[in-house]
Amino acid sequence: MPGLEIDGLRVSIGGRDVVRAVDLHIAPGSCAGLVGESGSGKSLLALASVGLLPRAARVTAGRIILGGDVTVTADLDRTAKVRGSGIAMIFQSPRTALNPLLRVGHQVGRVLRRNGQHADLTRRCAELLGAVGILEPGKVARLYPHELSGGMCQRVMIAMGIACEPQMLIADEPTTALDVTVQADILDLLDDIRSRTRMGMLLISHDMSVVAERCDSISVMWRGAIVEAGTSRTVIGSPRHPFTAELVRDVAHRPQPKDRPAQRSPAGPADGPPTEARG
């Protein structure tokens, strides 16, 4: 099956298993959710998928297969090639995730260049920035990250992520560091991109409500292992593991299972011009 397949993955740090025999599958165009507390290993799982585990961590078992034919675990060189063009990842704190000394447009541009697109960079960067819902993308491209709000930085990151037109996008707590008002916009944007490009997405969060509304399937991670997995309707509607039940209970309102008709505006509202007060 194409898409991203994680098979019996085991990661350990200093002899201790922090990710235990995880199986996960993300079909192209679908959105899989991964929920768990901090420390449950979900970020490490994500990092392992792009070959960016910290030095102390090691994959001790299992495989990660992308698009049916590329294994992205043991072979670091191949993983490096796949990063960005096969799998892209966006991170939790967008402001620190951008190079403070480079203009935003330059940072998007070099991702484009890495993917072999050298022509017409300025225009393409502006296009991308516009596609993630930034008003006046030409002006914003010339700004530095510290002049943008958190939400806009996250949009820039998403622009960098989709610049490579990846098969798979891993979003590790993409909205946790953002204002509540901005969170929905960003998640809408991600959904929109996914539906337009048939990109698969793994949405990681500690917040079940974020995952519940938007994901086709949900996996619950606890202490390094997947303790429950299924379609979002089943997991939310009838949780079997006590931890899942707890998470579901904590959700503020009862989430709709994900078979609403898709109704997205073509580009989410921008966060407004960069001002010093935002972020």
Binding site: I13, V18, E37, S38, G39, P54, A56
Partner: protein
Amino acid sequence: MDLTDDGRTRGRPDDAGPAGGPGRSARLRSELKRHPSLVAGGALAAATMIVAVAGHLAPPHNPLAINPGHSLAPPGPGHWFGTDQFGRDVFSRVLYGLGLDVVIGLIVAALAFAVGSMAGLVSGYLGGWIDDIVMRVADLLMSFPSFLLALSIAVVLGNTVRNVIIAVTIAYVPYLLRLTRGSVLAARGADYVLGARAVGASRSRVMTLHILPNVVGPAMVQATLMLGWAILDVSGLSFLGVGIQPPSPELGVQVAQGASYITSGQWWISVFPGAAIILAVLAINFLGDYADDKLRGQGS
């Protein structure tokens, strides 16, 4: 990376074993393995101390005894480091001088620490115009390279040991002041301080009992490093003829006295004293490295 997700801290390794577990010697060994700077520093420091103490209590020859018949003898049996132009045994002089320099350095570091951290504590805690003035003065003193500042002060004060100590201390105080003040500013808003004030503790009580213990740590580590810089600076000043004068066997003085003989081949008069300086300062630097690692919570 402590990955327990239910908030429990991991148990210490020796809590688990029978009858107290691996115990202190195992912990010491693992600490030494993870921090080679501790090993190096500790060994060198021990060597320095032994040598310095032995040099003061029982030097092979009298460090000050002149012996014109044996002047400029190269290193050999009887005079392991040779003799200088006055026939004095260089080995004894180096041992004695090492102790001298270390003591002077300790005095400087202790004084600078006392004055700098107190001033930083008061200035940082009281704030307002006191803080402004103190900071301006400190900034002004820091607008010079510290060696030159010490040199200027020592020249003006006069060539005695006391004046050199004062001069170098003055040059070092602003840095410790800045450091302590920074910690104080950060601690001032901390919960435990606000709590103490809320129950009516006086300012001085809060300062001494609550803030001081928490800000003194980094300053103490910095002062330890300053011991090394003090030895280098004091001996540098003596080398230039400022402050400590011959016939004192201070190491910088010795290097200066041997300087005119290096081109004619009698290198031992200058080289050995300098090597002793390196020994002491290296020990301090390694230990300081270790302390810094500990403070920042990393292995080396």
